[in-house]
């Protein structure tokens, strides 16, 4: 009898979906992957909330309150939680605002502009509250594994997932470990 499929959830927090594109970049291995895993919450399935999962892949850092809720939901539901890419691991590009004052930043972007009449900082209650800084995911919840890269190559993601699915300790090795 076939082994039951592992459940995998993925999300992009303060990221650009580049890491998800890289996941799709594993090309024909996708067929092998969907033979061995079923996707739970993910941009690929459009499921809105994460159920109990074996593996959670987190792209992007934590820049607002919604990111915190999603990340905690993943941690609660995923046996193994993986930080994927530079933003999840270091804060990345969004974290380049971290040495600036957030209020001044918002004013500069939304208020002080000539091309919009009555320019103001958006304050719709639907919008998640921004955090003072953009945080790497391991500073908010416990993370089991890290796949660096901007984005990590499809090969790196496939090597990692292949190891994890087969029950081996995932190891990228020198050739696939890249920070850029």
């Amino acid at each position: 009898m076939d082994k039951p499929k592992l459940r995998v959830a993925t999300t992009s927090l303060a990221g650009c979906f580049g890491c998800h594109m890289s996941l799709l970049d594993i090309d024909e291995h996708l067929f092998e992957l969907v033979g061995r895993v079923a996707f739970d919450r993910s941009p690929l399935t459009d499921i809105k909330h994460c159920g109990p999962c074996d593996i959670g892949l987190i792209e992007g850092g934590v820049c607002n309150s919604e990111n915190v809720h999603v990340l905690r939901e993943f941690r609660r539901n995923c046996k193994t939680l993986v930080a994927v890419g530079a933003c999840a691991i270091t804060g990345g590009l969004p974290a380049q605002r971290n040495h600036l004052d957030l209020g001044a930043c918002l004013q500069q972007v939304y208020r002080f502009r000539d091309d919009i009449e009555d320019a103001a900082v958006p304050d719709d209650p639907e919008l998640p509250l921004l955090l003072d800084k953009v945080y790497p995911v391991h500073e908010v919840v416990r993370i089991d594994y890290f796949i660096p890269g901007c984005p990590p190559s499809g090969e790196a993601i496939w090597k990692f997932l292949g190891d994890l699915i087969a029950g081996r300790t995932p190891r990228l090795g020198h050739a696939l470990l890249r920070f850029d």
């Binding site: 530079a86 270091t90 590009l93 040495h99 470990l177 920070f179």
Partner: protein
């Protein structure tokens, strides 16, 4: 008879006055390092070259080799300590590799690959360190400084200009420029200075050549730093 010590269980010959690191390298054994450079006296600040000798942790760049010494270097214990030191360096500054011109040619990054550092583990400091673009040919990006003092030493001892210095103590320590304005453009610093070409990370950058080398042909793209450093005598 030549004197010997044991390096990771293998006999290594040395001459009086040679440090552990020098003797090990002469015998073809790489020891990770950041602040050490073959053209300068040992500095002993980065501690990446830490080894265990006689049960004690010592800086191999600074400790003279002795007859019969037993040195452990490439062991899980020593490499775990080196990895922790790298992780602390990464969180203390702003090391955003994807936007750094030095990426692929950076010793800090290459050592992180060598020691399989996939995460900086600790909480990031995100310090505020403005850049200095005042010099016509050289950009200073203090975000990446690891305080190895190689530029300080090169500028003082080779160029005779003393353009750089480290100031303050502990976590407040930072690199400063020897000009009343504090700007590199107001010094006699030149792009041909030794100090302009010695930074192991991405602080002192030549302008107008950034990202000229494509990914794949950079210094550490093909081979690990342990291979490149031994081949190029660094």
């Amino acid at each position: 008879m030549t004197k010997q010590f044991l390096f990771d269980g293998q006999p290594v010959e040395f001459e009086d006055g040679q440090t552990i690191l020098e003797a090990a390298r002469a015998a073809g054994h790489y020891i990770p390092h950041l602040c050490w450079h073959p053209d300068f006296p040992p500095h002993g600040s980065c501690k990446l070259c830490i080894v265990k000798a006689g049960g004690r942790h010592v800086s191999s760049c600074a400790l003279p080799a002795r007859e019969g010494m037993e040195v452990e270097s490439n062991t899980p214990e020593m490499n775990a300590e080196r990895r922790a030191l790298l992780q602390m360096l990464f969180v203390e500054g702003n090391h955003f590799c994807p936007s750094c011109e030095k990426s692929g040619n950076c010793q800090l990054q290459a050592l992180a690959y060598e020691l399989e550092m996939a995460t900086a583990r600790f909480n990031h400091f995100f310090p505020d360190r403005p850049v200095d673009a005042s010099h016509p040919d050289v950009l200073l990006d203090f975000n990446r400084c690891i305080f190895c003092e190689l530029c300080v030493r090169a500028s003082r001892d080779v160029d005779g200009k003393s353009v750089f210095a480290l100031t303050d103590r502990g976590i407040h320590k930072h690199l400063v420029v020897n000009a009343e304005s504090g700007r590199l453009g107001d010094t006699d610093f030149s792009v041909d200075d030794r100090a302009a070409n010695i930074c192991p990370v991405g602080v002192i950058l030549r302008k107008r050549v950034g990202f000229a080398l494509p990914i794949g042909s950079r210094k550490y793209d093909g081979a690990a730093i342990s291979v490149v450093a031994m081949k190029e005598g660094e």
